[in-house]
Amino acid sequence: MLELIGVSPQMLFGQLMLGLINGAFYAVLSLGLAVIFGLLNVINFTHGAQYMMGAFVAYILLVVFGVPYWGALVLAPVIVGAVGIVIERTMLRRLYHLDHLYGLLLTFGLALIIEGLFRARYGVSGQPYPNPLPGGTNLGFMFLPTYRGWVVVASLVVCFGTWLVIERTKLGSYLRAATERPDLVQAFGINVPLMITLTYGFGVALAGFAGVLAAPIYQVSPLMGANLIIVVFAVVVIGGMGSILGAIVTGYALGIVEGLTKVFYPEASNTVIFVVMAIVLLLKPAGLFGTAK
C-alpha cells in the first residue's frame, strides 16, 4: 500500500518520529505563548529571543561556571524566567490597559534588542554545546538518538503538567477567573497583579526550557529564535489563541505534518504550516480549539 505512493514504511515511520520530535519543540514554545496570551492578553513576540536566551544561558553556565546540562535544565529556565519577570514589572505592566498592539510592539522591539546584543557578543555561527546523552537505539525503521527521545519525553511531561495545573487545580481556577474578572477575584483577597507577574515569568521560563532542550541539537546561535518564532505563532493561531490544549495538540500535529512534507515535497516544508493556518482561519476563524468570544 505504502509503496504505491513511493515511500517505504521505514521511511514513513522515521519521518513521523522526527516530526514528533520537532513537534515537541513547537508544543513547549506555543504552550508558553498560549499561557501568556490566555492569561495576560499579551502577544509575546520576545518568546523567540527568550528561547534563544535559554540556550545561551545553558551554554554560559557550562563554559563559565562548569554547570552540566542537567543543572542547566533547572537553572536556565529560572534565570530566563526571572529576566521575564523584570520585563513584566518594569515595562509590560504599563501597557495592559492599552490595545494588544502596544504589547506586541514592545515585545518585538525587545526581541530585536536582545538578539542584537547576543549577535554583537557571539557572532552568528553559533557555539557548540556537547550532547549529554550520546548514542541511540536502532528502532528497526530508524536510528533514534537517545537525546531526541529524551526531548519528546521531557516535552510531554511539561506540557501535560502545565495543562493539569491550569485546568484541574485550584491555583489554575484562580488564574482562569482572574483573566475573566480581575476586579472580582481581587475582591476575594487574591493578589492578582502578583499572579499575572508569575504567570508571565512561567511562560517565559517555558521558552527558556525549550532553549536548553534545543542547545545540544542546534547550534547555540542568536538567530535560532528568530527562525522558529513565526512558525510557533502560526501553531498558536491554528490551535486557537489562548487555548492551552490547542497549543499542545497543534504543536505535535504540525510537527508531524511538516515532517511528512519533508518526504513528499521538501521544498515546501517551511511553508506548509502557513498553508494549514490559512485553511484553518478560513474554515474556523477562532482556531481548532478556540471559542469565538
Binding site: 519521518q15 538518538p145 542546534y218 516544508s269
Partner: protein
C-alpha cells in the same frame, strides 16, 4: 521577516591629502553583504575591515585617488540587494560593489552592474554562472566558485572510492549550481548520483533530510549548502550516527568560521576545498594577526582575504585608467594587468571574468593535533591555478569567442 535598518554607515576612509593642485580621482566602493544573518561571520564586518585595510595599504593619495567606503546589509534577499545596489549606483555615486555572498543576490547585482556600467567584484558568492551563462564585462568573480569546489573536493573523494552520492541541497541558486557542478565531476570520474533532496533556505532541522540520505544507501552524502546550514547538518549527522554507520559526509563549501562553530570534535576529518587559509605562509599570518586584533579575535576566511585582494587590484586599475566612470573600461584594464598582492600572490583575470589562482584541498585536524583556536586545517593538496577553475571554453560565456 525583520526589516533591519539598511544603510549601515558611511565611513570616509581616505579623505586624502590633496596637497598638490592636481584634481583627485574620486572613487566610492560599496561592500554589500550579509551583516546580520547566517553568512555574517564569514563575510559581514570582516569584509568591510578587509576593504578598508586594502585601501589604507594602497595609499590612495600617493596615486592621486580619493577613496570612500560604504557598506550595507542585503539580508540574503535578492530584492533587498538590488534596491541597495540601485540606490548606490543611481543616487550615492558608488562606482564598485564588492563581496556579495548569496548567489541569488550576486546574480541580481551582476545584471544591475552591467546595466549601469559599474564594477562588481564578487568574493562571497559561489555560483559559477557568474563567469558562465551570466558572465558580464563589468564583473570579476574573485575568490572561488562552485565549479572549483566540485573539482577539488568531488574529484578527491571519488578518487578515494566514494562513488555513489546523495545530495542535500540548499534550495536556491547557489545550492543548485553546486549540486550541478559536483554531479558533473562525480559522473565524469565514474561515480553516480543516486538521489537529491532540496531543503528550504535557511533551515534549522536537517534530520529528516539526513534520514532520506541514509535510506538512499549512498556512500557519500554531499552537502550543497553553506554557513549555518552546513554547520547544523554536520552536527545533526553526528547525532544520528550517519558516519558511524558507514556513510561519509562531503561538505562541499566550508569556511573557517563554520569549523570554529562546530568544534573539532564534530568537524575532524572533513575534507573540502578553499582558496585561502591564514596559516599557509608568513604574509597570511601577518594579515590574520591584524584582522584578529580588529575583529574580536576571529580569524579571516577566504572571503575576507578575497575582498582585500580584489579591492587592491581594482585600485591599481583605477590609478592606471585615471577614472572610475566607465566600469567596463576599468574591468578591461584589470584583465590586462597581472594580479599581484600579498595574500593571493601572482595571478590573472580571464576574459570571462574569472580570477585565476591556486586552490587548496584541506582536511580538518583532530582535536589533539590542533594548537588552539583557529588552528584547524592540514593541507592535503594544492590544486594548481591552471587546473583549479573551469576551462574557458566550457563555461558558455558569451564574452569568450
Amino acid at each position: 521577516m525583520m526589516k533591519r535598518t539598511l544603510l549601515a554607515g558611511l565611513s570616509a576612509v581616505a579623505l586624502a591629502a590633496a596637497s598638490g593642485a592636481a584634481a583627485q580621482t574620486e572613487v566610492t566602493i560599496g561592500v554589500l553583504n550579509d551583516q546580520s544573518g547566517l553568512y555574517s561571520d564569514l563575510t559581514g564586518q570582516g569584509s568591510v575591515w578587509a576593504a578598508r585595510k586594502a585601501i589604507e595599504d594602497f595609499d590612495p593619495a600617493a596615486h592621486g585617488l580619493e577613496v570612500e567606503l560604504v557598506f550595507a546589509d542585503h539580508q540574503n534577499k535578492p530584492d533587498v540587494g538590488s534596491s541597495v545596489a540601485r540606490q548606490w549606483y543611481d543616487v550615492d555615486g558608488v562606482d564598485m560593489i564588492v563581496d556579495v555572498p548569496t548567489s541569488s543576490v550576486a546574480l541580481a547585482v551582476n545584471e544591475l552592474t552591467r546595466e549601469r556600467n559599474k564594477v562588481f567584484l564578487s568574493s562571497g558568492a559561489a555560483t559559477s554562472d557568474l563567469t558562465g551563462k551570466a558572465c558580464s564585462p563589468n564583473t570579476v568573480h574573485w575568490t572561488y566558485d562552485t565549479w572549483s569546489l566540485a573539482n577539488g573536493t568531488g574529484k578527491a573523494i571519488v578518487e578515494t572510492g566514494g562513488e555513489s552520492w546523495f545530495f542535500i541541497t540548499a534550495d536556491y541558486a547557489f545550492g543548485h549550481a553546486l549540486e550541478r557542478d559536483t554531479s558533473a565531476v562525480v559522473e565524469a570520474n565514474g561515480g553516480e548520483v543516486v538521489g537529491t533532496v532540496r531543503h528550504p533556505f535557511p533551515g534549522s532541522d536537517f534530520s529528516s533530510f539526513l534520514l532520506q540520505a541514509q535510506a538512499s544507501g549512498a556512500e557519500i552524502i554531499g552537502l550543497a549548502n553553506a554557513g549555518g546550514d552546513t554547520v547544523n547538518t554536520v552536527k545533526q549527522a553526528a547525532e544520528f550516527g550517519i558516519v558511524q554507520s558507514g556513510q561519509s559526509l562531503a561538505a562541499l563549501l566550508m569556511f573557517l568560521t563554520d569549523v570554529h562553530a562546530l568544534g573539532l570534535d564534530v568537524a575532524q576529518g572533513l575534507i573540502f576545498t578553499e582558496a585561502w587559509y591564514w596559516d599557509l605562509n608568513d604574509a597570511n599570518r601577518a594579515f590574520a594577526e591584524e584582522f584578529a586584533a580588529a575583529n574580536n579575535g576571529q580569524h579571516p576566511t577566504m572571503v575576507h582575504a578575497g575582498v582585500y585582494s580584489a579591492v587592491t587590484h581594482y585600485l591599481k586599475a583605477i590609478a592606471e585608467v585615471g577614472s572610475a566612470e566607465d566600469g567596463a573600461a576599468v574591468v578591461a584594464a584589470m584583465k590586462e594587468m597581472p594580479t599581484n598582492d600579498r595574500l593571493f600572490g601572482e595571478g590573472e583575470i580571464r576574459q570571462d571574468g574569472r580570477k585565476i589562482h591556486d586552490m587548496y584541498l584541506f582536511e580538518v585536524k583532530a582535536p589533539e593535533e590542533s594548537q588552539g583556536p583557529w588552528d584547524y586545517y592540514t593541507l592535503r593538496a594544492t590544486i594548481p591555478a591552471a587546473e583549479a577553475f573551469r576551462p574557458l571554453a566550457e563555461g558558455e560565456c558569451p564574452l569568450v569567442n
